[in-house]
């Protein structure tokens, strides 16, 4: 029998397998999300709605803006005339308008959330890092804005900017910046004092480098979870503003505006009038369900 040298032993050790394969954080999140059946179902419905809205021009045979007055106010399920969701007061196909309207409604849900997530993270992280007077002033301004009820603040900002979808988006963004920045700030303060940031400081890393490699990836985690829940709320606020005449201008279809323009016909074709409302409801519920599932999947006390 030959003697084993240290090098032989090391060689064997290197050849041996580590029984578990490396699993990154995001693959854990994906696996946990896929286990949540309700969340997956919500996500599928959501993807269908988004896809239908995005590809509306290729799906719909009708013009969303011009209808045939002769066909006006047909009830839903009018398959014989080719209007599965009926027609509105000007004879425009409801399915077409709902899908086209979905493009604007979804835009009004996503854009303000994205803007608020970016701006709120910058403000919150900054305030959490510098603390002191600057941080306190920044956060008290945020608290002040946060004290207003969201919808009221949106109406105030929207009406002072004037009607129009872009102003609605600006208004909703402003409403969402304070809560995002509060989360970013508290998370930043927590992480800055953590031992792994101390270890990074000990290695002589600059503040920018620590911000980029240690702080932001962990702050963004919380922001992603929180923001995903904001999209549905943003859509509802935008639809409310349109309903009040502060959102998209006629005849451009948007779900809130469609509800408003159809409300006079509620006794004639109640089912048709309900269609945009049902879509608002369905989209925001699926958004919130998917967001909850994501929160559960990401809220692993892994580290």
């Amino acid at each position: 029998m030959t003697e084993l040298t240290a090098d032989d032993l090391r060689e064997r050790w290197y050849q041996s397998e580590v029984s578990v394969p490396p699993i990154s954080y995001w693959s854990v999140v994906r696996r946990r999300f896929l286990r949540n059946k309700l969340g997956v179902a919500a996500l599928i419905v959501l993807i269908l709605i988004i896809a239908a809205a995005v590809f509306a021009p290729w799906i719909c045979p009708y013009d969303p803006l011009v209808g045939k007055p002769a066909d006006r106010l047909q009830n839903i399920f009018s398959f014989s005339t080719g209007h599965p969701l009926g027609t509105d007061e000007q004879g425009r196909d409801m399915l077409t308008r709902v899908l086209y309207g979905g493009r604007l409604s979804l835009l009004a849900g996503f854009v303000p959330t994205l803007v608020a997530a970016v701006v709120g993270t910058i403000i919150g992280t900054w305030a959490g890092l510098v603390r002191g007077a600057v941080g306190a002033i920044l956060m008290r301004i945020m608290d002040m804005l946060y004290a207003f009820p969201a919808i009221l603040l949106a109406i105030a900002v929207g009406s002072s900017l004037g009607a129009g979808l872009s102003n609605t988006i600006i208004a909703v963004s402003i409403v969402f910046i304070p809560p995002v920045s509060r989360i970013a700030e508290s998370e930043t303060r927590k992480i800055v004092t953590s031992e792994y940031v101390e270890a990074a400081r000990l290695s002589g890393a600059s503040r920018i480098r620590i911000l980029r490699t240690q702080l932001l990836p962990n702050v963004l985690n919380e922001i992603i979870v929180y923001s995903s829940g904001l999209v549905g709320v943003a859509m509802i606020i935008a639809a409310s503003l349109s309903f009040l005449g502060l959102g998209s201008r006629p005849p451009t279809p948007e779900w809130g505006y469609m509800l408003e323009s159809l409300q006079g016909d509620i006794y004639v074709v109640p089912a048709v009038v309900a269609v945009p409302g049902i879509f608002i409801f369905l989209t925001s519920v699926t958004f919130n369900t998917a967001s909850d599932a994501l929160r559960e999947a990401m809220d692993t006390r892994l580290g």
Partner: protein
């Protein structure tokens, strides 16, 4: 051993270090004196153990030594070079002083793989990519982890494995001085033994000097050459480890040592010194000697005058009036001289 240690220049010299935190208690601004006028030196290649109850300023002292906190007064010298009071620490100091943190769970960035965490200090210091990989694998091997773990994430590792990764991160820059802040306290006893032995192996392999901070007296005895006993931000006794465990001088050290639970049922709780009272708040430490409120031998002088460090025996300093020629207990002084 002692002559060799005194001839070599101390790798770490802490001189009169004081650290005060400002805090708010209600409407009042208060000052918490976390570390108060602490001085000691650590010769190269040895281990200094620092013991004391929680809240006595051990961790603050650790952070001052490595430069995470700046001292309010006093200096920390690393091999003769003082740590700058403000501004960046020089590259040699960054490379040569590292720290292992207490909590193996929060000391690793959860989004970074093991290899990224260990390689981060090298990346910061501008080491080229292939060298980083090589050195990360080498240090992983040295701490007893398969190099394949460099692609794993902290959540996949056990507490002991994580602490090995933390040690690897501290060692990857090949430091001279490593501060171990309760580095084994959060681990199971069995894992603790593994890590303690790993640390001892690494000490000889990497030629390291340790500052080993712990509240666990047994582990400190096992690890240390010298021991500093801290109470409320001050060092009250400083001596060789064997000396402290055989013949502690300061009443606080005696109290700490007598509180180690023994496995021998006949000796149980026989010689526990009566602990008279709670730990005073560092917001408002007692006048004179800070330990006097709990000291069974407190005298009048203890409330009026803070005791200075007295070399009661060669290589054995204690800060207690009992060993002072003027006010002290002649029997005690005679006992120390008699040995």
């Amino acid at each position: 051993m002692t002559t060799a240690a005194t001839d070599a220049p101390p790798i770490l010299a802490v001189d009169g270090v004081t650290k005060t935190f400002r805090a708010r208690a209600g409407l009042h601004r208060v000052r918490i004196s976390a570390v108060d006028n602490v001085s000691f030196t650590v010769p190269a290649g040895s281990t200094l153990g620092i013991v004391g109850e929680s809240g006595c300023g051990k961790s603050t002292l650790a952070r001052v030594i490595v430069g995470l906190h700046r001292a309010d007064a006093g200096t920390v010298r690393f091999a003769g070079t003082p740590l700058p009071r403000r501004g960046k620490r020089s590259r040699t100091i960054v490379e040569h002083t590292q720290m292992v943190f207490q909590d193996p769970y929060s000391a690793l960035n959860p989004r970074a793989s093991v290899g990224e965490s260990i390689g981060f200090p090298l990346k910061v210091q501008g080491v080229p990519r292939p060298d980083i990989d090589r050195r990360v694998n080498k240090v992983l091997e040295d701490v007893g982890l398969h190099p394949a773990y460099s692609t794993h994430y902290p959540h996949q590792l056990s507490g002991g494995q994580r602490q090995r990764v933390n040690i690897a991160r501290a060692l990857v820059l090949e430091p001279k001085l490593v501060v171990l802040d309760e580095a084994v306290s959060a681990l199971d006893k069995s894992i603790q033994a593994q890590i303690v032995n790993l640390l001892l192996d690494l000490q000889s392999g990497y030629d390291l000097t340790y500052v080993f901070i712990s509240h666990d007296l047994n582990v400190v005895e096992y690890m240390s050459d010298q021991v500093a006993v801290m109470y409320l931000g001050q060092v009250v006794e400083f001596c060789d480890a064997s000396m402290l465990y055989q013949a502690p001088l300061h009443p606080y050290s005696q109290m700490l040592l007598s509180s180690i639970p023994t496995l021998d049922p006949t000796q149980r709780a026989e010689n526990v010194l009566a602990d008279s009272g709670d730990i005073p708040s560092p917001l408002n430490p007692p006048s004179g000697c800070r330990f006097r409120t709990r000291c069974p031998f407190a005298m009048d002088i203890c409330a009026d005058k803070a005791p200075a460090m007295i070399e009661a025996r060669p290589q054995h300093s204690v800060s207690c009036h009992l060993f002072d020629r003027e006010y002290g207990d002649p029997a005690r002084i005679a006992a120390t001289k008699g040995e």
